[in-house]
Amino acid sequence: MSARLMQGNEAVAEGALLAGVRFFGGYPITPSTEIAEGMAKLLPQVGGTFIQMEDEIASMGVVLGASLAGKKVLTASSGPGISLKQELIGYAAATEIPVVIVNVQRVGPSTGQPTAPSQGDVMQARWGTHGDHSIIVLSPWSVREAFDLAVRSVNYAERFRTPVILLMDEIVGHLRESVELPAESEIEIYPRRAPKKSRAEGYEPYAPDEDLVPNIANFGEGYHIHVTGLIHDETGFPSGSPKVTRESIKRMHEKISRAADEIIDVQEEFMDDAEFAVVAFGGTSRTAYEAVLSARKRGVKVGFVRLVTIFPFADKIISELAKKIRGLLVAELNYGQIVGEVERAAKGQCAVKLCAKYDMTIFEPEEIEAAIDEMISEVDGE
């Protein structure tokens, strides 16, 4: 396929469609609206369903219902809309309903700066809903990767039966660039999991398979399952037992944490000789990459680390890196969020510095390069 100019948000819609998404429910909000608009146009072309709901809460509800009825589903929003979705993101985690939520981040809190870029929802993506829960969060840095990660998000949602957050930012969401998309035949698709037992054989919808993920039947297949946000045992019915509660929370974490090595995707460049490195994600990593290139031209031994998977967090990788190098600079478009995760994972084995920006504008390479130099002189001086 030849290259074409495509917008990040458009690429998400295309990717989700190719991954098998056949149902989208949403509510317009800048800067994510193009995803809803794309789905409104594309879905009926393949017999799928698009519905504009009355708010973001309903948008979450409608896609969860559709997912239970057997469809692969997507919803997208930004800022205040993502806050409204939180209760039902928790519902999806608790009931193990596959769903992909795209968050094209903008400046907050509240209405904030609706059209301006930010990466201020990182910790919300991990802990936005109440209670102990696990989640997968992926963040693309290019239009092509927005497409790829849309596919991957849908596959992970299905495979782990979990909400997956595709954490975009306005930079990538609204960026247009040349992309070559893979042919449909090149795309791997994870199918909806199916029950392995009949009712007569004692099927239990929430009994975990070997990978700790349950094979929950779709509605309408004759299994008479019960789905509830109350803590439930393997039958799916509520249980007031401390043991069931403990095991249920534990399993939901472990079904993802045990596959973490596979889920965690980190891009490392120039790390062979690096004494320092810049850690970034999403649109900011494009600028960080140029800053690193420029610093290396001056002979600075700095590497580039890009978090493609934000959660589960790349603890092991960061910890190993921290052993080898002297300092990590975390560049993010917020007051300082992922830096806390990096610090935690680095366990004091190297210096961790923050390069933060939260003024509606994206980083310029010079700003990150200056922060690299500053980190080095600080570490040298210590």
């Binding site: 519905i51 708010d55 509800g61 409608v62 004759g222 789905v227």
Partner: protein, 275 residues
């Protein structure tokens, strides 16, 4: 249909239910399954029960279908997703007066407006039962609740008028006392293609009756008997007779309008996605 043939619709191993003695919820739950039993082609395999959160919404757990106990107020969006994702399924929503008209009020009116093919049954006990008796948007003026200790001053909703105004294509009311009538109202609601709404008055002796000195369950049901007036008789009453606690029951509204899933099928045809 034999005398207790409806029992197969219940999950016997999940009973007894958690409702208080004398609670009206069980009566409406039974009326629902008896209405389903009468519907040709509706089976336990192709009928889905969706509920919100509240005492009434616990009914889904006792009914042997694919059942979905959602979050407080959100049953209608979930049900909409199920119906649109698989239009062959029959979808019934069970909700409470708080669930449907307070936290879920916006979803309720938009569900009516879209005319998605759902049947919504509101168990109206005039109170928040599950959380112990706080005022709901359907608590009558002057009645007491834990959050309205001096009597409620919030003007209540008439959920049937609301449903009709918002675009529901079948609107009816009955009570836990008028079981056969209630079953018939539900049955006709299931027959309607489009958004059907049935308000079922239920007695909540624990959180509403006792606090308001209305008394025992039997007295609460006697109140339903004495004050409910069939729509045809109600319409003949002069305004000065429509006083006190009197209220109408029966079919209030019915219309034939394209459902959302039928309309969306045209979209698919226009987009070239029809098989």
């Amino acid at each position: 249909m034999t005398e207790r043939s409806y029992e197969k619709f219940f999950r016997q191993n999940r009973l007894p239910h958690l409702w208080c003695p004398g609670c009206g919820n069980g009566i409406v739950m039974k009326a629902i399954v008896q209405a389903v039993e009468k519907k040709l082609g509706w089976t336990q395999d192709n009928t889905i029960i969706v509920s919100g959160i509240g005492c009434s919404s616990r009914a889904s757990g006792y009914m042997d279908f694919d059942t979905l106990h959602t979050a407080h107020g959100r049953a209608i969006p979930f049900a909409t997703g199920i119906k649109l994702a698989n239009p062959k399924l029959n979808v019934i929503v069970i909700t409470g007066d708080g669930d449907c008209t307070a936290i879920g009020g916006n979803h309720f009116i938009h569900g009516c407006r879209r005319n998605v093919d759902l049947t919504v049954i509101l168990f109206n006990n005039n109170i928040y039962g599950m959380t112990g008796g706080q005022a709901s948007p359907m608590t009558p003026l002057g009645k007491k609740a834990t959050t309205a200790p001096y009597g409620s001053i919030d003007r209540p909703f008439d959920a049937c008028k609301l449903a009709e105004a918002a675009g529901a294509t079948y609107v009816a009311r009955s009570t836990a006392f008028h079981v056969q009538h209630l079953t018939k109202m539900i049955e006709d609601g299931l027959d309607n293609r489009g958004f059907s709404f049935i308000e079922a008055l239920v007695q909540c002796p624990t959180a509403y009756g006792r606090r308001n000195k209305i008394g025992e369950p039997a007295k609460m049901m006697a109140w339903m008997r004495d004050n409910a007036i069939m729509k045809s008789a109600w319409d003949k009453l002069t305004d000065d007779k429509k006083t006190g606690d009197k209220f109408p029951i029966g079919l209030f509204y019915r219309a034939e309008t394209e459902t959302y899933d039928e309309a969306y099928h045209h979209v698919i045809e226009l987009a070239g996605g029809a098989k």
